[in-house]
Amino acid sequence: MSILVVEDLAITFGGLIAVDGVNFLVEKNEIFAVIGPNGAGKTTLFNMVSGLYSPQRGRILLAGEDVTNLAPHELARRGLSRTFQNLQIFFRMTAIENVMVGRHLHEKRNVLSHLFTLPSVHRQNRETRGKAAELLALVGLTDVAERPAGALPYGALKRLEIARALATEPKVLLLDEPAAGCNPVETKEIDTVIKAIAAHGVTVVLVEHDMRLVMRISSRIHVLDRGRTLAEGKARDIRSNPAVIAAYLGGTGAQEAARAQS
């Protein structure tokens, strides 16, 4: 059974058909990339899968369960997590506190116990903090743990969002342009992190523009253009698919892709 199934998803925004009947399956432990030119509907697709938008047509199945139209926090409970293209960091909280929020689902949430300094709450705070510290180490942010997130550089924030999303212990992690705005060094770091995540047993679905990154790490690639599926397959098949090259990769893009594989 595929861990994530997207069936005939569609949504329209005031006359503009943003996503028009997209279908794909994602298998457990894959790194599945969704690519396409700007405006192809990739983030919109993510927003539907993560419960922020309600699709007007179609279904989403997570581990076999129909989760279409469920609220984002319900999806989080069922093992779906995501990062954001335009960074939704908690800027007023420290780096480690950001990741601690990610542990929310795994904490006891009885408000009454939180009002009084019960030892169980203290113990839980320590556990949460410990877990958060581990995740920060995974993404290489240990030395900025106590800094306010608002003071961190862009590349660090991208990795922080990943650590935070991982804190929910997801089965499926949606990464929305994790390398956007990153320089080549930062992109290599993200690359390593994503491979480590997949090695830990988390299925990764990736939206990305950086073709080198995509070709290097993806198991399979799904190409969107103007809200519709253009092609799907392994990296080398997509790279040599004439329709994809024509619509998207273009001359220079194809060269870059060829170089990445070598």
Partner: protein, 290 residues
């Protein structure tokens, strides 16, 4: 039937004043996204300043003109001293600043004027006109005509003059308006001045019927805001429709249900509108993109 008409007449008269307050809100909101709670104080200033100028010996028409000029100046000062410096603040901070301004203006009015109720002589004196058993004050007609005049002038201004169109442009997209060379700060300042004039005009028209007092601003602002929300925040047509509708609802509620809770109608309206159709009757609903 006579009773129904009586309520309708008084409702529409008061509603016309609410419409003017709502128009003032809308104008400022459209050009700057600020909800100006000091709007009610403009109405108060129009009435009170006219009363005091007249009692100092100034002939009534001139007193009214002076009052409007004074209020326009206050509107401009409000923009320059309280709103402009706070540009970039959150919407809620801006609301609180305008609330602070209204408290300040009220305090000044209590000192420079007084705390008593005052009236103005009606513009057209004479016996009430009897229509199907209900009495319609000539001043009510003056109020309605005054509001209609303001609406027509405002429409002409917004649709047919360069400055007016600039105001509409700012409402649509502030950054784009600046990029094409519109001096947004000056235009927003102008919107404050026009709103002040509209409010003051309303205060002068209403004083013969509803009396005026240093304290009338708060309730008027809240009710005018309710009217603007009912009609659809940002729609001038909605402001007028909302104002008249609110006035009628208030009058009928006071007449048929309970006169004690007359003032509550506006707030119940606000809550109902916000819960069920936040965009109001004529507004456009916002689409939020993540």
């Amino acid at each position: 039937m006579a009773e129904f008409l009586q309520f309708a007449f008084s409702g529409v008269t008061v509603g016309a004043i609410y419409a003017l307050v709502a128009l003032g809100f809308t104008l400022i909101f459209n050009s700057s996204e600020v909800v100006n709670f000091a709007q009610g104080e403009f109405v108060m200033l129009g009435g009170m300043a006219t009363v005091f100028a007249a009692s100092a010996g100034v002939p009534l028409p001139l007193a009214a003109l002076l009052a409007i000029v004074l209020t326009i100046a206050v509107g401009l000062l409000l923009h320059r001293l309280a709103i402009e410096p706070a540009r970039g603040a959150t919407p809620v901070t801006l609301i609180i600043i305008t609330i602070g301004a209204s408290i300040l203006l009220r305090g000044l009015a209590a000192i420079f004027f007084d705390k008593n109720y005052h009236s103005l002589p009606p513009f057209i004196s004479g016996e009430p006109i009897i229509v199907a058993g209900a009495a319609l004050l000539p001043q009510s007609l003056v109020v309605l005509m005054g509001v209609a005049l303001v609406v027509v002038l405002l429409w002409a201004f917004l649709a047919h003059t360069m400055t007016g169109k600039a105001m509409v442009a700012i409402a649509a997209n502030r950054l784009a308006a600046r990029l094409v060379g519109i001096n947004t700060s000056a235009v927003v300042g102008l919107s404050f001045m026009i709103s002040a004039a509209i409010g003051a005009f309303g205060g002068i028209l209403a004083a013969p019927i509803t009396l005026t007092n240093y304290d009338v601003g708060t309730m008027l602002a809240l009710k005018g805001f309710a009217a603007a929300m009912l009609g659809g925040m940002g729609s001038p047509l909605g402001a007028v429709a909302g104002g008249l509708l609110l006035g009628l609802l208030e009058a009928f509620a006071a007449g048929y249900i309970s006169s004690q809770y007359k003032d509550a109608v506006a707030f119940i309206v606000i809550l109902l509108v916000l819960f069920s159709m936040p965009q109001g009757l004529f507004g456009r609903s916002k689409v939020e993109r993540v």
